[in-house]
């Protein structure tokens, strides 16, 4: 078996007295596509935010692309270069054009020449089918377009891992599909993906493994077929009934 690209070993985290991650053990192999679901407050966002150290864990070990995440900027920066992230609220930089949003990190972090960074950024924009908006500002775009720009921005550092934190939850229903389409394409290209989402159709279509979390624990994990057809725990059945029931 190959070494995992992400590994959680007995990871615990608290927000003050609230035990948000409890004895998390998880290992992800390169190229794997994982969907994480669970009720709100179950710790799923916190889990993926620990992978690029937007949140610090207090106990246990997290290793990402062979680097152990510790309390020093060097390991954090090394890991962040390998991990792209897409947020629920897009978090594009509103004072920069779409193109500048994409080239910012390659130029200042990756030390890529501006011309080259722009060329690569345009390629990424074409990939998410939004190249014609390159010179607009984010707030001039629709939510779906903004989220596609955010995906392109995360890809500009050519990461090995992509994290999605509820990427479609802030979108109008009409725009969810255009974002999911881009994510499906991305999944087909073999990048390692961890996605917190309630889009169960997406989970069925692309996930290698679905993880169900509740109260800070991983309750159940299984390939989508098994997960949806034969859930084991009552909590999982309960959750699936609510989310698939409508």
């Amino acid at each position: 078996m190959t070494t995992p690209i992400i590994q959680f070993e007995q990871v615990n985290k608290w927000f003050d007295q609230f035990h948000v991650l409890r004895d998390i053990n998880l290992s992800v192999t390169a190229g794997e596509r994982i969907v994480i679901c669970g009720p709100s407050g179950s710790g799923k966002s916190t889990l993926i935010r620990c992978i690029n150290r937007l949140e610090e864990h207090q106990q246990g070990r997290i290793t990402v692309t062979g680097v152990e995440l510790r309390d020093d900027t060097r390991s954090t920066e090394a890991v962040r270069r390998q991990v792209g992230m897409v947020f629920q609220q897009f978090n594009l930089f509103p004072h920069l054009t779409v193109l500048e949003n994409l080239t910012l990190s390659p130029i200042w972090v990756g030390k890529v020449k501006p011309d080259e960074a722009q060329e690569r950024a345009m390629q990424q924009l074409q990939r998410v089918r939004i190249a014609e908006q390159a010179h607009k500002y984010p707030l001039q775009l629709s939510g779906g377009q903004q989220q596609r720009v955010a995906i392109a921005r995360a890809l500009c550092l050519t990461p090995q891992i992509m994290l999605f934190d509820e990427p479609t939850s802030a979108l109008d229903p009409e725009m969810i599909q255009e974002v999911l389409d881009v994510m499906v394409e991305l999944a087909e290209q073999g990048i390692t993906m961890l996605c917190v989402t309630h889009e169960m159709g997406f989970a069925r279509a692309v996930a290698d493994r679905v993880i169900f979390m509740d109260q800070g624990q991983i309750i159940e994990e299984a390939p989508p077929q098994v997960f949806f057809e034969q859930p084991i725990h009552d909590r999982t059945k309960d959750f699936l009934a609510k989310i698939l029931g409508h």
């Binding site: 937007l54 594009l92 707030l139």
Partner: protein
């Protein structure tokens, strides 16, 4: 299909309505008067009140300031016209003293050239077309030129002009130089203090908070007083920097504290998500602040910042307290020292008011332009 088969509440549009042009409202003078001046009973009332005020006050003001005004520097004529017409003669008589203070009379071409040079630099710096590296070089040369011309010496070396010590500098050049330099130094300091106040390091935070609270608890006059009179007492004799430098440092440190709080307000308006996005893209602390946080934070507080700049510009008038005669101080010097002209202080005040107003109004209009530049919706 029979009409009875559909319920009353169901309805489908027969055809899509193509967009049409908005109704065209006449935008002429007549229309403007009708809507803006006479739009509602309240509007009519205000218009009548304002017209009455104008009819009551304007003729008297025109008569005083223009019709019966004395323009030539003739003190006797002014005395005769007193109460009836303005005595602009005081300006024609004293303008050089007002504009340049105690600077040696024969050498006053030097502050004139220095001031014009500084004004050209300031205006150029406000224009987008001039924002490249050459501007930095221009500023270094410009400031050397300013101090060389004003003092006749530069960094201790003579530049071939009669030396004029800084306590003889005065009037508008002093006002302009003090405000320009203290704004230029206070702004970066304020940004650092504002960031420091939000730092994760308790020591940095404590230093910044102490500085801000100390400065805000003291009036500018006492800061200037200390810079000018107390500071030299604490230093070994002969090591005290020039009074101008001390006063400049005083104004800078004072304004930076206020400015820092304005900027902190802008920093607080930046959502956490922006920091997280920057972090996830691998940007470090300084890159995040410089490229992501500050451009947005400063854009939020442009009006507050410009407010502060305008206040600094006018606060330079307080340096009179330490015997530096900037524009308002030089005006006092010019009029109070001469019994013939002392009665016409009001006109002299109106003259410097005009100068202050032109400068401050320009700054305020510029601020509106900057606001438009930083809005990207």
């Amino acid at each position: 299909m029979s009409p009875s088969s559909t319920p009353d509440c169901a309805h489908a549009a027969a055809a899509l309505v193509p967009p049409r042009a908005a109704p065209n409202h006449a935008r002429g003078l007549r229309q403007w008067i009708r809507t803006e001046l006479l739009g509602s009973p309240m509007n009519v009332g205000v218009t009548l009140l304002m017209t009455a005020l104008l009819v009551w006050q304007l003729p008297g003001w025109v008569s005083w300031s223009m019709v019966h005004a004395i323009v030539q520097p003739d003190a006797d004529a002014c005395q005769t016209a007193r109460g009836l017409g303005a005595c602009w003669g005081v300006v024609s008589e004293k303008y050089r003293l007002i504009l340049f203070g105690r600077y040696p009379f024969a050498e006053q071409w030097r502050p004139l050239v220095a001031t014009l040079g500084l004004l050209v630099l300031l205006v150029a710096s406000c224009m987008r077309q001039c924002w490249h590296r050459g501007l930095v070089v221009a500023w270094i040369l410009g400031l050397c030129g300013f101090f060389g011309l004003m003092g006749g010496r530069l960094l201790g070396f003579s530049v071939g002009l009669t030396p004029v010590s800084t306590d003889q500098w005065g009037g508008f050049p002093l006002t302009l130089m003090l405000s320009t330099l203290s704004i230029a130094c206070a702004f970066p300091l304020a940004v650092l203090v504002a960031l420091g106040r939000r730092s994760d390091w308790p020591l940095v935070r404590a230093v910044c908070i102490t500085y801000i609270e100390l400065v805000r608890g003291v009036p500018l006059i006492s800061v200037l007083f200390m810079a000018s009179f107390m500071f030299p007492l604490l230093m070994p004799p002969g090591t005290t920097p020039d009074v101008l430098l001390r006063v400049l440092a005083g104004i800078t440190l004072f304004s930076a504290a206020y400015l820092a709080e304005i900027i902190r307000g802008g920093l607080q308006a930046i959502p956490r998500g922006q920091l997280e996005a920057a972090a996830s893209l691998g940007l470090g602390y300084w890159a995040t602040q410089r490229l992501v946080v500050l451009p947005q934070a400063l854009a939020h507080v442009v009006p507050g910042i410009m407010n502060n700049f305008i206040a600094i510009f006018k606060d330079t008038s307080l340096v009179t307290i330490v015997s530096l005669y900037e524009l308002s101080g030089a005006m006092g010097l010019a009029v109070n020292g001469d019994p013939n002209w002392r009665p016409f202080k009001l006109e002299a005040y109106l003259f410097i008011t005009l100068i202050y107003f032109v400068c401050c109004f320009a700054m305020s209009r510029y601020s509106l332009w900057v606001e438009r530049q930083v809005t990207h919706r």
